[in-house]
């Protein structure tokens, strides 16, 4: 249903993608005579072409069809995604899901207008038909000569040891069982535990009418734990998950211990939690996933499509001082193995670390192709899409603040009455009004400069530009979020991450109780 044209910007965590039993994808099994060599991140352009059963000539024909009605630009995005999920519940690994999705999305641009269609069949007829549909964004006619493709050398920010397609279900099951045992052993109050193991592998081949040809292999691995504890008739539930562009080697014995320990600790800590007073309070954000503040307060508002349309509260702020000098905020696609990293964006543009705010001054929007052209700047590598079924838009990657001059303890000591927020479930923003929110699952009251009672389940709401001004202190302890964050916009989700050092905001509105 299209009722989300406005409610487009949300961020949530712990989301488990569809399905999965470890089965070999059909195409690879058919294309190779041996095991292993053609899976994973070491594939060549020819491997990708044969993976999708296409040739460069076929792609050129499709592009020519896309431009046949006078469009300026055409791109073709092939994708093959394999997702797996295995779940443990009530002490048994008793459910598994898998999802295989395959197709090509064809986009034609005329100025800043977009025509789009996709085909789940990769035959020349089906692709040309989709290209003709997309071509209708333009209304004249043209004959375009085929352009020679060039493949830029791409970095690899997510090398892994073993491709997920080679990890059998039997290898994954013991992780769930071990974590489950540890969860129950950790605390006698635990009554239920759910552990899930999901992985996804995406093969992408991209080409456009400017001669760019890129390809990428994108792994993602995630283990999540959710548990419920009971004490004196009171029940509490919480969880913890680790997600990244990792292989199974990432889930070391230390990671397994952490998953169990953190999930349990975060759950049982809630028994003593209170609700703070309602109203404007100083808020100290713990280093790590509280980077959600940036994602919601400024990240979406800096997506260039909103700004070129004049709908974002940040539409006139480039070059202006918006925060203290020690505030520098970036959106980065180059962090090793982190969930929001990309080797190349979904429009064939190079990934990079883009400075949104540099030493307190607003520096750059997050651009897709159309916006970069509109503003006359180099694309920033933020053109992303959920899948071949979706139109690329400016999207975030890993959004974080660089370390600052203060220390965590020093920061907390300055607060007479406020809150310390350390775990979150979701957030949202109205980019025009500038109202952003995020939900604090757990944290602490700060009273007279010390962390006192735990707090839980409160929403925080603020104004983006105002909060930037109100960032009073920034610690030196930058940490990145570790969980499975997914950002939603215009009905499509992309994996992202965020990070923050310990940060103090002088005041934001905190949901709580009135006397």
């Amino acid at each position: 249903m299209k009722a989300c044209i406005n409610r487009r910007d949300f961020l949530k965590t712990g989301a488990v993608t569809a399905a999965g039993v470890a089965i070999l994808p059909q195409f690879l099994a058919q294309c190779t005579s041996g095991p292993a060599q053609v899976t994973g991140g070491n594939l060549s352009l020819n491997d990708y072409l044969s993976h999708f059963g296409v040739t460069q000539e076929m792609i050129q024909q499709v592009i020519a069809q896309g431009l046949s009605k006078g469009g300026d630009y055409c791109d073709v995005y092939f994708q093959h995604v394999i997702g797996n999920y295995i779940g443990l519940e009530d002490n048994a690994v008793n459910r598994a899901y898998s999802d295989v999705s395959f197709g090509v999305g064809i986009r034609v641009l005329k100025g800043d207008q977009t025509g789009y269609s996709f085909s789940e069949e990769i035959t020349i007829e089906a692709m040309k038909s989709a290209a003709r549909t997309a071509a209708n964004i333009a209304t004249s006619s043209a004959k375009v000569a085929p352009v020679a493709f060039e493949s830029p050398k791409l970095p690899n920010y997510y090398t892994i040891k073993t491709p997920w397609e080679e990890v059998s279900i039997n290898e994954k099951i013991p992780y769930l069982q071990k974590i489950n045992e540890k969860v129950f052993a950790q605390d006698k109050r635990i009554i239920k535990s759910n552990v899930s193991f999901s992985d996804e592998t995406s093969y992408v081949l991209f080409a456009n009418s400017e001669g760019t040809l890129t390809y990428d292999y994108l792994p993602m691995g995630q283990i999540g734990v959710s548990c419920t504890a009971e004490q004196n008739g009171q029940k509490e539930q919480n969880g913890f998950n680790l997600s990244g562009r990792n292989g199974i080697e990432f889930f070391s014995p230390e990671a397994v211990d952490r998953l169990a320990n953190e999930a349990v600790k975060r759950t049982v800590d809630l028994f003593d939690a209170v609700k703070p007073k309602a109203g404007e309070l100083p808020v100290v954000l713990a280093a790590g996933s509280s980077g959600i503040l940036l994602h919601e307060a400024i990240g979406h508002g800096m997506e260039a499509d909103f700004n070129r349309k004049g709908t974002s509260i940040f539409s006139d702020k480039i070059g202006k001082k918006v925060a203290n000098d020690f505030v520098t905020i970036v959106d980065d696609g180059t962090n090793a193995n982190i969930r929001g990293s990309i080797n190349v964006d979904d429009e064939g543009n190079a990934s990079e670390c883009t400075y949104l705010v540099e030493n307190g001054t607003m520096n750059s929007y997050l651009h897709d192709r159309i916006s970069a052209k509109h503003y006359g700047v180099t694309p920033t590598g933020n053109g992303r899409r959920e899948s071949f079924r979706h139109i690329p838009l400016p999207r975030m990657r890993n959004t974080y603040m660089l370390p600052g001059p203060h220390k965590k303890d020093e920061i907390i000591e300055t607060v007479k009455y406020g809150i310390y927020a350390d775990s979150f479930t979701n957030g949202q923003v109205m980019i025009g009004a500038g109202d952003f929110t995020f939900y604090v699952k757990s944290g602490y009251l700060i009273e007279d400069g010390k962390l006192t009672r735990p707090i839980k389940d409160i929403n925080i709401i603020g104004n983006g530009p105002q909060v930037l001004k109100d960032i009073e202190m920034v610690g030196d302890d930058l940490k990145m979020a570790e969980g499975g964050w997914t950002c939603g916009k215009n009905g499509q989700g992309v994996p992202v991450s965020q990070g923050l050092p310990t940060v103090k905001v002088s005041k934001i509105t905190v949901g709580g109780v009135n006397a």
Binding site: M1, K2, A3, I5, N6, A22, Q26, I86, A92, V93, N94, R95, Y97, S98, D99, V100, F102, Q113, T114, G115, Y116, S117, S119, T133, N136, I137, I169, I173, T228, E236, Q237, A278, G279, E280, K309, G310, G427, Q428, V429, I431, G432, A433, G434, D435, F436, T437, Y439, K456, D457, N459, I460, I461, G462, N463, T509, V510, G511, G512, V513, N514
Partner: protein, 439 residues
Amino acid sequence: MTNKERKELAQWAVDFAQTKGASEVAASISNSRSVEIEVREQKVDKIKESTENGLYLQIYRDNKYSGHSTNNLKKKELEKFISEAVEATKYLTADEFRTLPDPGLYPSGDYSDLQLKDDNYNKVDPEKRLEIAMEIERLARAQSDKIISATGGYSDDYSESVRVHSNGFIGERVSTSFWAGAEVTVKDGDARPEGYHWGGARHFSEMPKPEELSQRAAQDALQRIGQTKINSGKYDMLVDNRTVARLLYMFVGPMSARSLQQKSSYLEGMLNQSIASPLLTVIDDPTIPKGFGSRHYNNEGLAAKKRVMIEKGVLKQYYVDNYYGKKLGMTPNGGYPSNVVFELGKRDKEAMTRDIKNGILVTSFNGGNSNGTTGDFSFGVSGFLIENGQIVKPVNEMNISGNAKEFWQQLAEVGNDAYAYSSMKCPTMLFTEIDFSGI
């Protein structure tokens, strides 16, 4: 492919899976054609047209369970896909409750016409689709010179699906839907508040008119000019019918058999107990002709029936699916909401406003969440301050918090205005003494 061909393919998939070792199998195959158009400044900003296919297979192999989906429906590929799916299932732990539903719960076959499909779908002129989006955008932008941006949108889809179970269920479904709306941005000092409105119908001729959609979207944005946050405090909260649905999720999730069985529901043990004020009667009704949530059967083949879920504040039923129903020894009853309708009150939102001395009319939620295990919730809000029966000024950047156990007992009035453009047909609702946090 026609639905007849899909049924044959689904039956083949079921049979083939059984030859490979599956004990029981459920297969569903779907196809959806959709068009989406966005217009800005009287030009097409985006147009997207495509067809999507899917096959979803659920394998029960000696009480071991797994589910698999693919968008490649060629038999040769499916043979491999199914073989591997059945093979992999054997590594899971057997679970005695993993079996297909009792066939006695399937529909008896007397299908009333739910009118989910507009027979004139193919006659909708592509030019007409564009015209609607253009008209909405033009009308929206014309509402006021304070408007700095407007987007008009149109989308429709035609969906067909079949479902076949190895224990005798065969069903099919065809449906259409048509949606249109606008998003509007206005200038308000440094800020650019946004408003929107979308509406739709299953039949093209019943779509809401461009005038309604554009006016409401523009109003939604214009009314926010000057919005500020106000003092924290306890206020009566009036929530408009378009916005109420968000609040229902406080109890819909906890009503699921899964949350009960996993001990993460604050409604555990509350069957036949009061969970809300007597003004709340919630009926789950899959039989409404053309309803957005209407169905003859659900995603497990269970026959869809009208059911009273909450009656005068008393919880009468949980949402019970096949698997968790078996685990709990409860009869499955549809598992998840279809259309949700309420016993309506007598007055509309304007009349209800006039009796409020000190309250806030909430017209949108912004983020927030609720904790199904404890009932705690907190949401961002914006809306209007009401004093002595009058709307005084717009407010924003505030939160509400509370706990569902108390909150729903504070439901003081239900309006007469069921919202048309959703499967959740909520009326305006009034809650007393809610904790708002602002300044």
